[in-house]
Symmetry: C2
Subunit: 381 residues, 2 copies
């Protein structure tokens, strides 16, 4: 199989929010001017970042600020899915703030345009943290309030870095699921694949083994015209698999689904990345508990994938094509091509995936070609 | 008196090194590639910064690194005048490193050109610290060595910030005479003038009082042609005082001399900013111990200033004109117009100087006009 960009788990945070319910939590929407470039004076452009604020629990100038360091997506998504902050705010008499990350949601320096490094070059974690720092100073000009940074995933990395880089502004950080060590030369590239696999293996050893076998099974079925028809009918693809590129795209989709399921394996029903039941990996693996092969395996896999792809039974077909035009995905793709170079790979032996090598040189070539960006793989470490 | 740029104390570090003796300490000169912009990807320029290294005391991979965070000037100047690092290095079995600040000495991204923000825009403390961070990673790729940042004056600010901003790379910092709180809204603008005054008052109350009176005395003498002749002959100016602009320039020069004397009031002979005796303020004030007025005051002042301006008796005339074309001064002038906006003023009552107001709006206007730079007075705090 050809190498693929397996950084997608973060990216899909945006793409899969199809049936997002009306907000549970209330806030005011505010905007704040920031310089495009905090660390240089060659360009003099400013733009507005958006933030959400709720001061109904706050008791005044001394009460803390719970500050969500927004990640790669519309900040309202994170505001509605970070219940912990809303739960603890009343007890702490805290001001609740969700700050949107530049280049995502409505915090767009060049609207929806991402044309080359002159526009995309300032989409970095350091610039985003400097936005947040300016916002903290704006919210608390006299520095009387303790500020606790909170975030999950890339937002968690930002929370940790915010505390490290701005110790005079940030008292503490809660960095949830924050892979700050997933960079060149620090963490082996296969770790994410192994951990994802273990989440499925814990549910049932047959579950991950079935997934591991499924790739070859699907390739074999795809190779024969009659079996390919079975494959297409079983999964009810919106766009049938006609080429090996289509098959590869479907495989990539499945890799992302498995990663997402592991990441959102919450003990309650959610619709954060997609509407799923409580313990979605358990629900998924219940369909693959027995050792299965051939078409039986594919039938079971289809049912299992539906737990993620069609839990609400609203979809008439399975859409495995990813919409790269979506804003959030643009942003994260760009970040992986500047400083968020997080080596990932799989070998199909120590994990349930197919072989994907990590090749930094190819990765860099691709970034230069696609975005004219030359990655700096060690810049954030 | 018209307001002046009273940030010059830092700047003169470079300008006054006239009779710099042959180096006392030995090092290898090395160079290291850094990106022009560490925090953006719009420009893809790299250049070399210079650093000086001595590994003769180091015992190997575990021994510490004493890392001088170079300031606004040729790094060799600081290497030769930071004896403390050389003194403690053998006991600590330390690697001694002096890193040159970008845009100074021989670490020039655009050679000697400082043409507009596209060239000058990356002369910031954050970019310099990122250079230093890359250099630390280069010197100690496995992070086995404790790194202690050391610096004085602006270099001391950098040492402190280096520890704060890169806690994972820097174990500790010795920030000597580092005014990290001398920024908008934090420290009153008159503090530097008052402290300078107190250094002279401690030597003798008459000393600072004489200086305080001298401005008016010189203005009065300048106003009459015969007395002006006396003034010119007494000080033996290389360029006689012919206009009020000349007089102002001489006053500015004296303000800088007094600031420098206070800053280099070491208990031993030095030639760091200029060749001076041990306790140079004491030597200076010995000439102004009695209450003096009129021409007596001027005669004594001339003798006192000679302690700084002509201690080696090599100069046949007093040069009060500052060479703004000098590299180091270009750099620091630019930095005061981006993020190093350090409010300074004097009132002639609580200090021994003439009245200089601090007016941020005028200051910003001047920066825009002179360098096309819009200062961000709170960016480093």
């Amino acid at each position: 199989m050809k190498p693929k960009n397996i950084h997608l788990p973060f990216l899909y945070i945006i793409l899969f929010v199809i049936s997002f319910v009306a907000g549970k939590y209330l806030y005011k929407v505010e905007h704040f001017d920031v310089p495009l470039d905090h660390f240089g004076y060659a360009v003099d452009h400013t733009f507005k970042i958006r933030y959400l604020v709720n001061d109904s629990y706050s008791s005044g100038k001394d009460s803390p600020i719970l500050f969500y360091t927004g990640n790669e997506g519309d900040i309202e998504l994170f505001a509605q899915n970070t219940g912990f902050m809303w739960e603890i705010a009343p007890n702490l008499t805290a001001l609740v703030v969700f700050a949107e990350h530049r280049y995502y949601g409505k915090s767009l320096p060049f609207n929806n345009s991402f044309e080359g490094p002159t526009q995309t070059g300032y989409l970095t974690s350091e610039q985003a943290l400097a936005d947040f720092a300016d916002l903290v100073k704006h919210l608390d000009p006299d520095s009387t309030r303790p500020v606790i940074a909170i975030g999950g995933s890339y937002g968690g990395m930002l929370a940790a870095w915010f505390r490290m880089k701005y110790p005079h502004l940030v008292e503490g950080a809660l960095a949830s699921s924050a892979p700050i060590l997933q960079f060149e030369g620090i963490t082996p590239c296969g770790i994410f694949s192994r951990i994802t696999t273990s989440v499925f293996s814990i549910s049932s050893a047959n579950c991950s083994a079935n997934i591991q076998r499924s790739w070859k099974t699907m390739q074999d079925l795809f190779a024969k015209e009659e079996d390919r028809k079975f494959l297409n009918e079983t999964f009810k693809f919106c766009k049938p698999l006609n080429s090996t590129d289509d098959l590869q795209q479907f495989f990539d989709y499945l890799v992302d689904v498995y990663g997402n399921l592991a990441m959102i394996n919450y003990p309650y029903e959610t619709n954060f990345l997609a509407p799923v039941p409580a313990y979605p990996v358990r629900a998924f693996c219940q369909k693959l508990e027995k050792k299965l092969e051939g078409k039986d395996l594919i039938n079971a896999l289809q049912e299992a994938v539906s737990i993620y792809a069609n839990y609400t039974k609203q979809s008439s077909c399975l859409n495995y094509t990813t919409a790269n035009g979506a804003l959030g995905s643009n942003g994260w793709d760009i970040q992986t091509c500047n400083e968020m170079v997080m080596p990932m790979c799989s070998d199909g032996k120590n994990d349930m995936f197919f072989t994907v090598d990590w090749n930094l040189i190819d990765f860099e070539k691709n970034c230069l070609q696609k975005y004219k960006l030359k990655p700096r793989p060690n810049s954030v470490t």
